[in-house]
């Protein structure tokens, strides 16, 4: 069933795209992932969508010899919550800081609400910023922290009190306005940082690793809270994270960065099912890289010429000997080497063709022991081809025995 939904989605997005929005997003994704294709005028592209709120055009930034941002272009729509996802050092925080005006780009344009803001100082860009460490002022109470931006603007005291108290309530900290930041828990501090960023009524909210400083248990709860609150406030937001689960769960749109450039941009589902680039394929999901995929049954047409491919657990189904098997010819013999209980299912490591693959088996099915002989069926894989990745279906599933791209 996993393989069914995967292939269905490919057909949907790759061959019969529905709706103009999807086309735009896909175009842009292609732009970012294919260096050659980037000349297809992002300006025209942006003009085509009236919903674009934030846009980066060919932004580059170097620190000495280090290229922190290398020709970065992407757009974020109004009211959306976008996640900049990438490994550490991939340049995602630099992008956020350039957007905020905390760094100046060496070249390229930054547009907010259709206006080039390159020369507009950070404080006039109408943004709220939540720092990774929150940067709450230690010697100010929660109230004074939130009120800071308003007090700077010489807002009337009564209005400040009204607004701040409203924000304190909004983020669920009623009654804690008189506390100092150090008297709060990590989660509460994040809420203060969030309220402080919203106090000046920005149109764009930027969050740098908003959940990094919070322990795992509270993090999950805060993610849901933040997503819900951003939707309620209706503010366009961009956050930085290195945690793909976080990005997939929270964001409407994910922008994947690698070594200073944007690898891929799109909805979480699109990116997950259709990674397109070699990097993204090996970054999202739970990838296992295998050598020489042509050795596997059902993929013989790839030949014995070596190469690499990426498998995910959901591409593989495992059956005990004796259980009914649909595609007998293309099933492989495998031995279970390791087994881990993961709550809802068992994660098994099975050896096939001298390669160790990871596969999940629900606990509702008959258990499989370590050392047991099993049959596995690989429905599809991502064949890595230079910078790109293409989906290859198992021969048994594909009516055309050829490789097709998405």
């Amino acid at each position: 069933m996993t393989q069914n939904s995967a292939s269905k989605d490919q057909k949907e997005s790759g061959q019969t795209p529905q709706g103009s929005r999807q086309i735009r997003e896909l175009d842009q994704a292609n732009d970012a992932s294919l260096p050659g294709g980037r000349t297809t005028q992002p300006e025209a592209d942006a003009a085509g969508s009236e919903n674009t709120y934030v846009e980066l055009r060919h932004v580059s930034k170097s620190f000495g010899d280090f290229k922190a941002s290398d020709d970065v272009s992407f757009t974020v729509e109004k009211g959306k919550l976008a996640g900049l996802l990438g490994p550490s050092g991939s340049g995602k925080t630099t992008i956020l800081r350039i957007l905020a005006g905390l760094e100046t780009a060496d070249s390229g344009d930054i547009l907010i609400d259709g206006k080039v803001v390159n020369d507009i100082p950070a404080s006039k860009r109408g943004i709220g910023f939540v720092f990774q460490s929150y940067a709450l002022f230690r010697y100010m109470t929660v109230f004074d922290n939130i009120a800071f931006g308003l007090a700077i603007k010489k807002t009337d005291r009564k209005i400040i009190a009204e607004k701040v108290n409203h924000l304190i309530e909004l983020v669920g900290l009623a009654g804690l306005g008189g506390r100092y930041p150090t008297q709060l828990s990590g989660g509460q501090r994040q809420r203060v940082a969030f309220a402080r960023a919203l106090a000046t009524e920005p149109h764009l909210l930027l969050l740098d690793e908003p959940f990094a400083a919070i322990d795992a248990k509270v993090r999950k709860e805060l993610r849901g809270w933040l997503k819900e609150l951003i939707q309620r406030v209706g503010i366009t937001s961009i956050f930085v994270t290195h945690d793909q689960d976080e990005a997939i769960e929270v964001a409407d749109q994910i922008i994947i960065t690698n070594r200073g450039h944007v690898e891929r941009s799109g909805s979480p589902l699109e990116i997950y099912n259709n990674p397109q680039s070699s990097f993204v394929t090996q970054f999202v999901g739970q990838p296992t890289v295998i050598e020489n995929p042509g050795r596997f049954k059902g993929f013989r047409r790839l030949g014995d010429k070596g190469g690499k491919a990426v498998l995910r657990p959901e591409f593989i189904s495992v059956t005990k000997i004796g259980e009914p098997l649909k595609y007998v010819i293309t099933a492989e013999d495998a031995v279970v080497e390791e087994s881990y209980f993961r709550g809802g299912d068992f994660e098994l490591r099975v050896r096939v063709n001298d390669q160790l693959l990871t596969v999940n088996r629900p606990i509702t099915q008959e258990p499989i022991r370590v050392g047991e002989q099993v049959k596995i069926f690989i429905s599809s894989l991502y064949l890595l081809d230079g910078d790109k990745a293409v989906t290859v279906m198992n021969e048994s599933l594909s009516n055309r025995s050829s490789i097709y791209e998405i």
């Binding site: 720092f131 931006g149 100092y180």
Partner: protein
Amino acid sequence: MARKKTKSVIPGFGISFGVSVSILSLIVIIPLCSLVIYSSQLTLEQFFEIITRPRVLASYKVSLATSFIASVINAVMGLVMAWVLVRYEFPGKRILDGMIELPFALPTAVAGISLAHLTVPNGPVGAVFSGLGIDIAYTWVGITVAMTFIGIPFVVRSIQPVLENVEGEYEEAAYLMGAGRLQTFFRVVLPEIRPALIAGFTMAFARCLGEYGSVVFIAGNKPYETEIAPLMIMSELQEFDYPAATSVALTMLLMAFVILFVNAVLQSRASAIVSGIR
């Protein structure tokens, strides 16, 4: 007995505790106690009579006023110097940084005669100022100059490490919310370094109050005018007037402790905010 209390597997508590307490007793505790014992031989009336003598009162006034002014100068200049040494890169920075401790390293008497000789009316610096009608040597100004000299390292060295640890993100956050440089400094950075500034100020103040070597040469030591409290004690000692010397010394110690106590209260308030204890 001591061993039972420590519950440590590390050996050597007995000897290390013993050695440190005996040296401490000989050098610090017994001599300080003898001050208390000796002063207990004085009656309260005697004590008050001595410490309210006009000449003694005048010396407190001189000491407190000049120490305070010198410490304020050091607080302001210390802040500027710490800021320069932490925030800016410029040629010669390491030399400036290394120079700050000179008042610790240079014997106070040397500093004293040098400052005095420079600022007497016919000295190289004094000549310039007396042309403007300002006398430095043998006035309050001179005392303040000498005290400023010895107080330099306290504020700088107290603020420097704290300023180094003030996160850039604080200033960025303030900047993004529209605060200007001065607003950011006074509202965000200054509160962070204020405890260190107060601590440095207090240490400088306490040190200046007790300072003798660098001040006596430049002070001129005119009774009622440029006589500092430590000099008062000195001259009473030279007249073998031990009751008077002891009384003045006790008052000075009291002042020093009050200053340090105020500092301790302020510091504990600041650290309560930072550590989250109410």
